[in-house]
Symmetry: C2
Subunit: 178 residues, 2 copies
Amino acid sequence: MAEEFKRIKRELVAKGHILDYYHDTMLIPNGHVAVWDFIQHNGAAAIVPVRSDGKILMVRQYRNALDRDTIEIPAGGLNPGEPTDAAALRELEEETGYRCERAEFLISIRTTAAYSNEKIDIYLARDLIPGHQHLDEDEYINVEAYSVEELKKMIYQGTLQDAKTVAAVMAYAVKYGK
Amino acid sequence: MAEEFKRIKRELVAKGHILDYYHDTMLIPNGHVAVWDFIQHNGAAAIVPVRSDGKILMVRQYRNALDRDTIEIPAGGLNPGEPTDAAALRELEEETGYRCERAEFLISIRTTAAYSNEKIDIYLARDLIPGHQHLDEDEYINVEAYSVEELKKMIYQGTLQDAKTVAAVMAYAVKYGK
């Protein structure tokens, strides 16, 4: 199907802090010309940190876009040239104060295929080792631990909605029968 | 934690087709002033259509942001004032040609809490009734059916990455032991 749509022009509208916003002029197969939104994002990595007691470490932080706190798995944008498994392990230690020798691949997601190319590679971390939390200077995070059952309940009740976290927790539960 | 951050200004940078892009000027608890991205989105609804044989209907379409076809559950933006369950049932019939009397709530997701307020309410549809597909004039969609096992495999292999679809399929599998 892909060959039927043609992008005529990609025009930068604004450069942002963590994304760039474009207008794409598209030739639709029916001959129409339409202007579509496109968000360029450099990609991110996230990690499901599983403690030896089976509980999962989550980070609570203020999210301006939702104007409230959220509970999410540790995650962050990639540094230039950084592989996603390294980024996931880096964010794990920076945000939670725990480190891990090896990130095990779980799933990849595209957060909003309708208008953004953002990809998040999500890993699992087990055998956590105490390390040192070191947050970015504008970052304020509390670390909390929840059982998989608690997280499932929060997801079905709608109190945990972050898409990468929902996808990751459920994918972990299905893969490992939790 | 929420009271420690203060939004000083929200400035419209550009109006888009399905989103508006803003720069938010934030006062960080440490006294810093930072400009953050904010994407305003009016919300969407999606639905997991389960056939009587247990297979799930998926839509294949070209996604400009990824420059390739994707496989996703039926979904779309809300019309003004439209409840999300009505939107989910409307998109089901428009995109797949099947309708359903009742949408059963499954989960809600926030696609990108880091910079957007987009919320997708995701429902289940069972007891599908043949209806009439009627796509938007710039919409080109193929309908395909997959078993839950096939979808899980595609998700773990990384060939199905759409976040709402990953979250929805896994949440359905966990809730109903599929």
